[in-house]
Amino acid sequence: MARWGACLAARDPAGPLGAAGAGSVRAVGRQAFGLFDGPGPASGPFEAAGLTAVGEVTLFNADRLRALLGQGAVPQDRTDGELLLHAYAKLGTAGLAAAEGMFALAVADGDELVLIRDHVGARTLFWARAGDAFAASTSLRALRRWPGVDAGLHLPAVRSFLTFAYLPGRETLLRGVREALPGRCLRLRADGSTAEETFWEPAEDVADLPPSEHAAALRALLEDATARRLPAAGPAAVLLSGGVDSSLVTALAARLHDAPVHTYSIAFGPDTQDELGYSGLVAAHCRTGHRVLTVPGSAVAARLPETVALLDSPVGDPLTVPNLLLAEAVAADGMRVVLNGEGGDPVFGGPKNLPMLIHELHRDDPSPGARARAYIDSYRKCHGDLPVLLTPDTLAALDGAPPPADAVAPYLRPGRMTGLLNQLLHANLRTKGAHHILTKVERITAATGLEGRAPLFDRAVVDHAFRVPPGQKLAGTAEKWILKEAVRDLLPATVVDRPKSGMRVPVQQWLNGPLRDLGHDLLLSRAARARGLFRPDTVRTWLRGRGTLLPRQGGKLWLVLTLELWLRSFDIEP
């Protein structure tokens, strides 16, 4: 289990890597590579076609990539990382675009250090300027220790986190560290300059075909995406919530895999609403071995700090601990790969689009930024509360910083996507998809030695989604309509046509019960007050269940609690 680090420096590039705690360090000219202990599949340094690289690489189309490079060009015994490096060496960014998988790669290419992140952002990497050198790693914690990296608290990222419940773009909570964007190839040069190339970005290419043709084409792509993510041998595991997305992945896995399929669902105890009826129905229908894990609030309280510490950037999602416990249960059953249904909403039009369409009906402000501001309001996190949540000093320090809406504004205007729905899906894919959903899945599963795979984020599936007319994705008020049509024969109608409900997480119950002491201790502690980010009076008001029009105090407190735990874990000072 390892994560990688890389350095570009005019002199002694290996030195900072070693100082940051890396092992297996190897210098190649101005670049050096090494591995850090930690939950991840990093390997290297390795060489191919005269280039040296280090990476976390899992390919789902290795056979096709080998064929593209020429029969025999890359021997069968080469790792996925070496194969991807060959593709880059021979075809440049076109070789990266042709790959399908989860990867974060650093390559020594001439005098440049090249950072590569996969199409949709299934794996994550960070980079920083460290004095007159460049530092890069898949581990933010490693960069926190790196000599010369400005690891102070980046206040605009605090505001972004409270707005989105994750960090939606390049910024991290460390002032000097940036996250590489998915589908990009970032070239770091010894003179301190950088250049970014995009090797894949979704493109609107609507084909005006009957729904049946789009559904048939999508079905073939879904089958291919699922088949390529199944383990080569032995049982397969699928996380099954009971929603249509995870249900269709379960049904496809059951149909395509020639070994047993095990499904795993979650519940929060007898006093909370769950979806076990639906997940049980799907499991029975698909004849999977089904296991339900009940997660009590006490387990969430016990495991929350260590779970938050696993995340390179915090995610204010109350499902992180349940996700970790579920991953542990899957791993305990001997699995190494687990499929999930993530991606259906951002790619095919889930439930968050209607409020934005309604906003457009009423929009009084013609400025392009108005849509982006409404989009961040639609997250319903703490953005509207910032004037009463953040201290006056924090607000003053943020004065003049780029607003959070800047992270989504480029997607939400006519340009690459002409249709309004496609703009919303594009924004969702490139922000929440890459920086919340996939990064959370990857970190949580990696911590248990698993690899979480998401067929609905397959690049070809995503490309197809933007070929489908928007009215076949959101058909009337039917969300993800074409996706449902593509798999209608595989699932009971009650699952395909059920309204979206989402996982009801009893956050407020937890905060009133097993998390009460932890919440009060952390949020009102001397250390939290000394940090000076949050107004204690507002936190107290929310803890008493007051101060908001609708009962969302629990969700808001969850963000503040997550952030406080993360800052403590990373020992971040202002």
Binding site: P366, L420, G545
Partner: protein, 292 residues
């Protein structure tokens, strides 16, 4: 604060006539107005209309809303509108107070160049008898929060493309928010036709009924033209109340309670039982009206 003793026999309460004659002093009224503006904006900086501020002022001076719900009565406002307006002029800028709603009719989607805005379905839509209330609900973000467009009476009939979005949805519903008054009940009856709601779309009045206004002890207006005939669903108390020419505006409901209630009704949200007593339950909006 002790609630005044109601006189439910005739459906009114207090000594409103005396209150109107004497009225609070200017200084008292100014202080009460500032306090009312603070209360109207709670929680979270709600934006409110001038009428809502007026009724909040009334609530502060005559807290009939604390009286038991089982007693059904409405009350005359303790402050003359002219006195309120004078106090408002003296107050200058009042944080949270919305400007008067513009009378101009504005085309939906007028700033949206994308071609597909009207291609999707709308599962719900809200029509308000009061344009001021429609503007207030929009200003406080209810359309996005509840996924429900909001239009006022002056914006009817609906834009044909919006009506088409309703027709494009399965089981769409149009909700009608109206006053508890003869005019309000008449608006609820004719709103669907006036709006051009497509056939097959359910129309659901969610506005105040007199009996709900009576249970909440809201301030009433007088001099309304009596309904002829009164709605068939009215009970005897409502018949008598309407026959006296009374009416209660939706604006008389606390702004926070109005926003919570409309959200709950248009989204079909179940109310959680109150956790800690009646006072807290009132603050959370639980004492609001049921679906009509």
């Amino acid at each position: 604060m002790t609630a005044p003793r109601p006189t439910p026999q005739d459906g009114t309460a207090g000594t409103a006539g005396a209150g109107e004659r004497a009225g609070p002093s200017g200084a008292l009224l100014d202080r009460a107005l500032r306090a009312a503006a603070r209360r109207a904006a709670e929680p979270g900086g709600i934006l409110f209309t001038e009428r809502q501020l007026y009724y909040e002022l009334c609530r502060g001076l005559r807290p009939w809303h604390l009286a038991p719900r089982r007693l059904r009565f409405t009350a005359r406002p303790p402050v003359r509108p002219a006195a309120f307006e004078a106090a408002l002029r003296r107050a200058g800028d009042v944080p949270g107070l919305l400007p008067p709603a513009p009378a101009a009719r504005r085309a939906p989607g007028r700033h949206t160049p994308e071609p597909d805005l009207f291609d999707y379905g709308l599962p719900r839509l809200l029509l308000c008898e009061s344009d001021e209330i429609a503007a207030m609900l929009r200003a406080n973000g209810l359309p996005m929060e509840s996924a429900c467009p909001v239009f006022g009476a002056a914006e009817l009939p609906l834009d044909a493309r919006v009506a088409g979005m309703l027709a494009h949805a399965e089981r769409a519903r149009v909700y009608v928010l109206h006053d508890a008054s003869p005019a309000g009940l008449a608006f609820a009856a004719r709103a669907a036709a006036e709006a051009g709601v497509p056939p097959g779309v359910a129309v659901v009045p969610i506005g105040l009924r007199p009996r709900q206004a009576g249970a909440l002890h809201l301030p009433h207006r007088t001099g309304e033209e009596p309904a002829a005939p009164p709605p068939a669903s009215s009970d005897a108390w409502e018949h008598r109340w309407l026959a006296r020419g009374r009416g209660v505006e939706v604006a008389a409901v606390r702004p926070a309670a109005l926003l919570r209630t409309v959200h709950r009704l248009v989204r079909g949200v179940r109310r959680a039982p109150p956790r800690a007593g009646r006072r807290q339950a009132r603050a959370s909006g639980f004492l609001t009206w049921p679906a009509a």
